[in-house]
Symmetry: C2
Subunit: 258 residues, 2 copies
């Protein structure tokens, strides 16, 4: 399986602390050593970093961990391969252009029968079930909408399609276009919103703490979503199976359940 990390914030925020925790699980405290990737939004543009090897040994991951790239939306993934060999094109997150926007998806789980998902113009480059599911979602979206709908309409459209994917196996998903982030839970996904008064947080996977009060302003709202809580002294909220939450500016603006 794999692990997911996402962020939605109302001000550009670096994710160094959370990412430092996550990458320990890529060959260090966890077995997810078959690649890692991270996508940062800056306006409409994206930066991508990825490697088909263990994040804990990656020089590029070390740079990302130390270099504070400020972003309002981030999606990251560490991989333990099941479907698809270990190579760069099978490394999440996947990105595609839709309606003049960069869309990004990362997936944790396995989908049985993903080859039956009908595709449109967007074709997979690699061989993962995850990328195929992404291409299918894009085909569904292109078929229904000719331009970007609002986030409520979009969430309501995507929720039953995420449910269809969940029926094929396990499907924890993070999806973003840089204006919102959608989290869909099949089995494991937890989130935490940090806002004033900010406190101290300690990583579960490394002996590292940070006092967010010194790193933020009182108006900052930063939500982090992860497969497993990344900190050991904060209260994370587990999502329910079948639950979809849309985050905008760090706030959960819509929650859909089954």
């Amino acid at each position: 399986m794999c692990e997911l990390l996402g962020m939605s914030a109302n001000v550009p925020t670096d994710i160094c602390f959370s990412f430092q925790g996550l990458i320990q699980r890529g060959g260090g405290t966890g077995p997810h050593k078959d690649g890692w990737g991270i996508v940062f939004y800056e306006g409409k543009g994206i930066r991508e970093f990825r490697d088909p090897g263990a994040s804990v040994e990656s020089r590029i991951a070390q740079l990302v961990q130390c270099y504070p790239i400020k972003s309002c939306y981030v999606i990251s993934h560490i991989r333990q391969a099941n479907v698809g060999s270990v190579c760069l094109e099978n490394t999440h997150p996947f990105t595609r252009e839709l309606w003049g926007q960069n869309w990004t998806l990362a997936h944790n789980g396995q989908l049985k029968g993903s080859e039956e998902l009908a595709l449109g113009k967007d074709l997979p480059v690699g061989t993962t079930d995850s990328e195929r599911a992404f291409c299918w979602l894009l085909a569904e979206l292109r078929c229904r909408f000719s331009e970007a709908p609002d986030i409520q309409t979009l969430s309501e459209f995507l929720h039953p399609r995420c449910e269809r994917l969940r029926a094929m196996g396990v499907c924890n998903l993070l999806l973003s276009n840089g204006q919102w982030l959608l989290a869909y839970c099949s089995t494991k996904l937890q989130w935490i919103t940090r806002c004033a008064p900010f406190g101290e947080a300690s990583l579960t996977d490394a002996d590292v703490s940070v006092d967010f009060a010194g790193e933020t302003t009182p108006n900052d709202v930063v939500t982090v979503i992860a497969t497993e809580p990344l900190t050991c002294n904060e209260q994370w909220t587990p999502m329910a199976p079948g639950e979809l939450i849309a985050f905008v500016d760090g706030d959960p603006v819509q929650r859909l359940t089954v």
Copy 2:
């Protein structure tokens, strides 16, 4: 304007030496300080690094310069903005999926009337004439071919379309899908093929030399394409205006002229 750098090789080769020369021109020995980017192919997958600032000051560019990523196809670009503001989404190279392949384009020049180029499903994310021209080329390709043609057919199809772009202003282009690299010259593009017996090369823009004999095997063939020669002690071949060359495994397999 901007500067381009491309590589086609028959064995995975790092581009650290050439890239080190190029990035000096991004705010150091040259004025191209409005962003830089580089795309490396590894199999069907790609790695992308980019920054909207000056390459000579970029920590990410420093990593790319020092960290030997081996690849057979690379496209890089340093930007001096004309059309489109300085931001991440306007930073070359641009990448899109076509026929299940990652396609990459970088452009040097200005295209007058690019808003009249008809688009299909691929829409620009940013506001450059370059990205719009790329989307137009993709629309033309999707309209004519339902799957990837051979490189000869492709070159013959693209050459008159590059000529149309050249008629709109200045259009030096590098395009690749990781199996071939196309270079099209409007005003300035030069190339060099390094093969046995390998010699020493010295950068024009930095006091750095390399003895390729110690870095290669006798069967290696590595072609580097750049706006201006990157070395001062080798013979680069200038392309003619209107000339298109397709490189496969470092070899020029097709040349089309006007």
